[in-house]
């Protein structure tokens, strides 16, 4: 099933729901045992069984009555409130071939939302560029999933980015401890981004950062004499990538390494992904984090 986690294959699926389902189920089928966990003494609600759930949590009484599989959910599991913050600025629309960073990010967002809601966690979605474009507050019911997936299906990369501003602005709205899942290319002033992400940690929130770049942005595999035009501005630069490639790769590598180092210091999960990275990596990172919360 591994090939079904290839972003290019996922992109061919028609709806975001299918994409999310495909990714999550493709991921789970690769596991020896379900990593869905959650124990509580206090029953909270039922949710429909999904592949990978432990059978011991099946409510056989409900099955006897309705002939459907339901899983019992407990209070502790439903306490997790997550926000997926997705950068939809113009730079996220860049793609060298295959899919854009925004598409890739939306698949991750959809999969995570799908998984979280199926697990009974509440999940919200925040779409932003230099302003907050859409804020869907966290809910855990199934109908909420289709709201999120609908929003993710109609994304269009536009506007300038100002992540640090958005992060600072949005942090004021969070009252309760929340899992923040940040999806962005982070192509802005690095110091400001690091500072504003770290703010969430100071406020006792959990943060997972998915740093998404296109392969070309990472290795600059372009040749010839090129006039580069910046997507989010009118800035241009004429240069020969073949000459500057070595220096560029060094800079990008330093850029990524700095994020990794600084976030690690603050116990912030950081994953660097390029648009050709298999999508299960994002889910693995999420589950790992979820386990520790």
């Amino acid at each position: 099933m591994k090939q079904f986690l290839d972003p290019l294959i996922i992109a061919k699926l028609s709806t975001m729901y299918l994409k999310a389902k495909f990714i999550v189920e493709g991921f789970i089928s690769g596991l020896h045992s379900s990593r869905f966990k959650g124990h509580s003494l206090e029953f909270a609600q039922h949710r429909e069984y999904s592949f990978g759930d432990e059978l011991k949590h099946l409510d056989w009484t409900v099955y006897a009555k309705s002939d459907k599989y339901f899983i019992k959910q407990y209070e502790e599991e439903t306490n997790l409130k997550s926000y997926i913050m997705l950068d939809k600025s113009a730079s996220m629309g860049y793609k060298s071939n295959g899919i854009s960073k925004l598409e890739y990010a939306s698949y991750i967002a959809a999969s995570l939302a799908y998984m979280m809601i199926k697990q009974g966690d509440s999940v919200g979605l925040l779409l932003y560029d230099s302003k907050i474009k859409k804020n869907i507050p966290p809910r855990s019911n199934l109908s909420h999933l289709s709201v999120i997936l609908d929003e993710l299906s109609n994304l269009k990369a536009e506007g300038q980015t100002d992540i640090s501003k958005i992060l600072l602005e949005f942090s004021k709205n969070l009252k309760k401890r929340t899992l923040i899942i940040l999806l962005s290319d982070l192509l802005e002033d690095q110091e400001n981004i690091i500072k504003s992400v770290k703010n969430y940690r100071f406020a006792k929130h959990e943060v997972i950062v998915f740093h998404i770049l296109d392969k070309t942005e990472e290795i600059l595999d372009i040749s010839g004499n090129v006039l580069f035009k910046e997507i989010e501005s009118e800035n241009t630069l004429i240069t020969e990538p073949d000459i500057i490639k070595k220096e560029y790769r060094k800079l990008i590598s330093e850029f990524i390494e700095k994020y990794k180092l600084e976030f690690h210091k603050s116990d912030i999960d950081y994953s660097y992904l390029n648009t050709s990275t298999p999508l299960d990596l994002a889910i693995t990172n999420y589950l790992s984090k979820r386990e520790n919360i």
């Binding site: 942005e217 006039l227 580069f228 997507i231 220096e247």
Partner: protein, 642 residues
């Protein structure tokens, strides 16, 4: 620079190809939208400068490669001196005495001749050349330009060393006159040791534009020691030895008198300094001695010897006869005279009463002071004394009996004693520097002296009456006394001057010795009284001599006076013995517009002179440069991959 295959220079036009390729390779940029330019800008800033530099360097190297390939095929030749077909060559060969310097068993002159022969064989057959030797003057050897190599080579062998100093600038300037055709290209090939002294004359070549090829037969670190001077003062000799080496040296010098070694002297001569030692000669007979001083042998022997004639004379012995002795010596007749003579003579004072017992043979001068009269016997004794070329000086005084002086004794005197006059004023005795000294003298009384035939008035009073007279029999008579009765002259500064002057008259008849530099013209050469010359080797010639060419002692024989001796030596003091070389920059400064190419007459001489005469092909160097450029191009075009 010229080219043997100039047609290949057309290839230089290809040099534009890499430039065109470079220009055309700049494609129009294609537009790409990109998410973030910041890292691109930084990377471009860092990498592009290095890249551009490398690109331009590559372009330059590629252009140079094309140029070099064209040049190699065109076979460039560097010509140090133009070699047109219409050229005249003069060979100037230094035969000054410094060219006698020996090294490896060969003199510099011999080395110069060998080098000249090689050049003569290398010159184009039709090329005309003439040969001159030079030291302080230019001597034609083959004066008229000729293409006959046999004549030139044979005459070359006839060039001999001289004892003269070098004047290369004069030789160059003089040689100009011998170029046959004004329109031909002129070339001088000068063979010399290039010692600095040879280029120090004032001769100007400022307007000359000829080309000189200098063949250097000198050494970079020569050493030489020389006798640079002999000074003779009375019986004392001052010897100066010069060290022209780069190190200190204890030098042995031997003095020979009449060909017998008189003594050895050691000189501790410091590097590039002179040292002088003085000593008195003793225990040799009076009269002329032929001497020479010789230092130990070195590489240049000609300046190791200095010849000089030496007239040895003991201090003359003078007998002072006091005709009016006093109890107080100070009031006597000879007190002041004796004092004035002390330095230059050995004196003895007697009273007139003792004259009969004193032998005159021991003396060369007798002073008679206020002697009243002389016996007949003593007049005869004194006459015999002066007949031996000895001198008598009379100072009259109050005791003098004029009738006796003018009669019985008159045969001795150059004058008659007429009368005693009061007062008088001395004329300036040619001692103009001390005119005041003469004026401050007071004359109280004086004898009026009337000159006889064949007498000579040496000094006068202002009324033209004699103050000092001399007879042809060597008798001198003063008009005043030697004490303070007639004048205050004996206590005035004038007195020692007068006495010195008097002794000078005695010595004027002594033998003359003159120092002369080799090559210097003799001022006496046209003197008709010269009856002959005795050369250093003892040969006598009946004719005079214009200039001396060989060091030694020459004796000029006169018909009417005593012989004169000439100490002829090489002119060490001119600096010719200092063999330090002139630097090429100094040489170029002196020569002005005249260009010079100097090469050494060493083992590479033949190769180097060929280069100078006919130029040298440089394709080998160009090939090496081309290979280096290829290597550089490969390295730069393929930077190390990381």
């Amino acid at each position: 620079m010229s080219f043997l295959n100039p047609l290949f220079l057309i290839g230089l036009s290809i040099v534009s190809i890499p430039i065109i390729i470079h220009i055309l390779s700049r494609k129009k940029p294609r537009k790409i939208e990109f998410s973030y330019l910041k890292f691109l800008e930084i990377a471009a800033r860092r990498a592009i400068k290095k890249f551009r530099l490398r690109q331009y360097l590559l372009l330059l190297i590629r252009c140079l490669i094309i140029i070099l390939i064209s040049l190699i095929f065109a076979r460039p030749v560097i010509r140090y001196i133009s070699s047109s077909e219409n050229i005249e060559t003069i060979l100037l060969i230094d035969n000054s005495y410094s060219m006698n310097y020996y090294k490896d068993g060969i003199t510099r002159l011999a080395n110069a001749k060998e080098s000249a022969k090689k050049i003569i064989t290398l010159l184009k057959p039709g090329e005309k050349l003439s040969i001159f030797s030079f030291s302080d003057s230019l001597i034609p050897i083959v004066k008229n330009p000729t293409t006959d190599r046999r004549i030139v080579l044979s005459e070359l062998e006839n060039i001999n060393l001289t004892h003269n100093k070098t004047d290369a600038l004069n030789a160059i300037k003089e040689s100009e006159k011998y170029f046959e055709n004004k329109n031909t290209e002129k070339r001088i090939i000068l063979f010399s040791d290039f010692a600095i002294n040879g280029w120090s004359s004032k001769t100007s070549l400022a307007n000359e534009q000829n080309k000189i090829i200098g063949i250097d037969v000198g050494d970079d670190n020569p050493d030489n020691f020389a006798v640079s001077g002999i000074d003779i003062n009375n019986n004392s000799i001052g010897i100066t030895i010069a060290n022209y080496a780069g190190y200190d040296k204890r030098i042995l010098a031997s003095l020979y008198i009449d060909n017998i070694k008189y003594r050895d002297i050691f000189f501790n001569a410091e590097s590039y300094k002179s040292i002088t030692q003085n000593f008195n000669l003793k225990n040799i007979s009076n009269g002329i001695h032929r001497c020479f001083l010789e230092i130990e042998p070195d590489k240049l022997t000609v300046d190791n010897k200095n010849f000089f004639a030496f007239n040895y004379q003991d201090k003359p012995k003078a007998l002072l006869i006091d005709g009016n002795p006093q109890f107080s010596e100070f009031k006597g007749e000879v007190y002041f005279l004796n004092t004035a003579l002390q330095n230059d003579t050995l004196t003895k004072v007697i009273n007139y009463d003792q004259i009969d017992n004193e032998s005159f043979d021991n003396y060369s001068i007798i002073f008679l002071c206020n002697v009243s009269e002389l016996s007949r016997n003593n007049v005869i004794r004194l006459s015999e004394f002066i007949s031996k070329n000895k001198n008598i000086v009379f100072f009259p005084g109050d005791k003098v009996k004029l009738d006796k002086y003018n009669t019985d004794m008159s045969s001795l005197f150059p004058c008659e004693f007429s009368s005693v006059l009061d007062g008088g004023e001395l004329m300036n005795f040619g001692i103009s520097d001390n005119a005041e000294i003469v004026k401050k003298v007071n004359i109280y009384k004086r004898f009026l002296l009337s000159p006889k035939l064949n007498s000579e008035t040496l000094l006068q009073f202002s009324d033209n009456s004699p103050f000092l007279m001399k007879g042809n029999n060597n008798v001198y008579v003063y008009a005043v006394s030697a004490n303070l009765i007639y004048s205050d002259i004996p206590v005035k500064p004038l007195f020692p001057i007068l006495i010195k002057q008097l002794l000078g008259y005695f010595s004027s008849k002594e033998i003359l010795i003159k120092n002369l530099n080799i090559g210097e013209k003799l001022t006496e050469s046209s003197d008709p009284n010269i009856s002959g010359v005795i050369y250093p080797d003892g040969k006598l010639t009946k004719s005079s001599i214009e200039r001396v060419e060989i060091p030694g002692i020459y004796e000029l024989k006169y018909r009417n006076k005593k012989n004169k001796y000439l100490n002829a030596n090489i002119e060490v003091i001119s600096g010719e013995s200092d063999l330090k070389k002139i630097t090429i920059s100094e040489l170029k400064k002196i020569l002005g517009k005249t260009s010079i190419f100097k090469i050494s007459a060493d083992k590479y001489f033949e190769k180097n002179i060929k280069k100078i005469l006919y130029g040298s092909e440089i394709y080998k160097i160009l090939i090496i440069i081309l290979l280096l450029l290829f290597i550089a191009e490969t390295i730069i075009a393929n930077p190390r991959k990381t």
